[in-house]
Symmetry: C2
Subunit: 322 residues, 2 copies
């Protein structure tokens, strides 16, 4: 009979795994598996609770070769801050890929989601950003703004980070944290246009419903990762950014069609080309990545169940090694 399920608290998980290159590599392999057709990943289950200003998502994926798979629940209860609680939460169910038995429950309150999301940003930067990034810019001032910049710095050790947010005080606080955490110069940029202009790598991390980045801001030698949009009505980039770029890459084409920046570009009619290639195809060489430092590239990350399953397997490996 299968062993009793392991129950791991957020504290325990924080002690086991953190935002280092090993996690970036784990997430990179999840994208490779996706591109190689070694992943079975059903559409996201999503429950909107408008009267509670809340939403609940579940993601799952099976990756051939891993002995577990995750089924992750993510919660967003956006009135929580008024109760002194974070908006985002969740937990991860880890099941045996051999017999379906429950192997573990990670009561992570979204910590592993934060990690794997940041790690995906680093994977995108590693494979798409110009080789030399001296200035990185982040749009948004929350936890992912901090994590995305920390993750990006692992693969593109920039000297300077620019922060823009609607609330300049929050932007200042984010910049101060980044200066301390990464040990780089950090400044608040009061104009997102200027932030894009000065950066070679930009990450957008907001739940915006209206475009924050305009197409005519894009310039040679720029990579943008848009990771904020994860629902059918969100979007951070003007749809024309996607066609203006030399390359637009999805984490999952099926998901960005419904939940990514691609959705608006399809709806507006701006996008008339083929389906975008996927990040895993770029990593594996089945699709072209950046071929010239002067190109403009965009990566669209909506977050995949494959990342959750890869993270869950990694946590159990770390635990076995500990």
């Amino acid at each position: 009979m299968p062993a009793e399920p392991l129950l791991l608290s957020e504290d325990r998980l924080r002690a086991l795994v953190a935002l280092h290159l090993d996690v970036v590599d784990v997430i990179e392999q999840a994208f490779v598996a996706l591109a190689e057709g070694r992943v079975i990943m059903p559409p996201i289950m999503s429950m909107e609770l408008p009267m509670l200003n809340a939403e609940v998502d579940a993601k799952t994926a099976f990756i051939a070769g891993l002995d577990v798979f995750a089924l992750k629940v993510s919660t967003g209860f956006f009135d929580n801050p008024a109760r002194g609680m974070p908006s985002l939460g969740g937990m991860v169910n880890v099941l045996s890929a051999l017999d379906g038995s429950v192997r573990a429950v990670f009561l992570d309150n979204g910590y592993l989601t934060d990690l794997r999301t940041a790690a995906a940003g680093a994977v995108a930067a590693r494979h798409l950003a110009p080789e030399v990034v001296t200035t990185a810019g982040v749009i948004g001032t929350g936890l992912q703004a901090r994590l995305q910049m920390r993750a990006a710095h692992l693969v593109r050790p920039f000297e300077r980070v620019l922060v823009w947010g609607r609330d300049l005080e929050k932007a200042a606080s984010c910049a101060a944290d980044l200066a301390q955490d990464i040990g780089v110069e950090a400044e608040v940029c009061s104009d997102p246009r200027l932030l894009v202009k000065r950066s070679q790598l930009v990450v957008t991390t907001t739940p915006s419903f209206t475009p924050l980045v305009q197409a005519d801001w894009l310039h040679p030698e720029l990579h943008i990762t848009a990771m904020g949009s994860d629902a059918p009505d969100k979007g951070e980039l003007h749809p024309r950014c996607l066609t203006r770029a030399d390359l637009y890459i999805a984490d999952s084409a099926a998901q960005v069609r419904l939940r990514g920046e691609w959705r608006a570009a399809l709806e507006s009619g701006d996008w008339t080309g083929d389906d975008p290639a996927e990040l895993g195809q770029v990593i594996g060489g089945q699709a072209k990545g950046r071929t010239d430092p002067r190109q403009i590239t965009i990566a669209d990350l909506t977050g995949t169940g494959a990342q959750d399953t890869a993270m869950a397997a990694h946590v159990l490996e770390r635990l076995a090694d500990a």
Copy 2:
């Protein structure tokens, strides 16, 4: 801050809740809530793993007025019996409907699903079967065959139960268990046609891919509950049964369209009428139920997230009372 999540084992859950009328009433109220539009229930997330002969489903639903909601994971790993393990398993995540925090994890291995599925059969029998049922028949010989008959007997105290299965030895074992558990006469019926003919209430409980009940077997004063089909390629009743019946009722019209008996009847062109009414509408009086003892009625149960949420709330109530 929210309290630590409760972790309940299958043993603990078995001690807390069992197949009694209180559970039938709880599930009945879930159907009423569905019919009254007090439920938000996204489509089932389903992951087929054909190379493992396995499938994983997740269901969730929010019911207004309950302070928790469930997100349930069900596993079917159909090679498990060769490993000495049951095919079906799963677990239930119970989350706060106030702030999304994890309130409990039920490591029930599918026990609560078994209960709420059997209870739904009793609800269907209560509202659709002829008032007088002397003989009940069950098609299938597994755990649900036993539970469905036990549940049906709570609301229609029949004197005799007939059992048919492809494997007559298993049918004999099921009949023996039912005789002992319910205290009624129980016989194996070697011909499903005869079983239907002799019964006023029939429950089909198989994962069949081909119809087991033919339309010309249906007779006045008969109710059939088909609860086995829960996937897009399953079906237990010949599509013409649905049109031959005076009344065909769904647990969820959206679900039976994809996963119930209705799917095949739509595909074959046999069904040309309106969408079926739902069980909760019959209970609440918004839709007609049986109006004459001589009618033929069919209930199609695919299993809803609303049932899982109602069960989860009931478990926590029982725990608070204990």
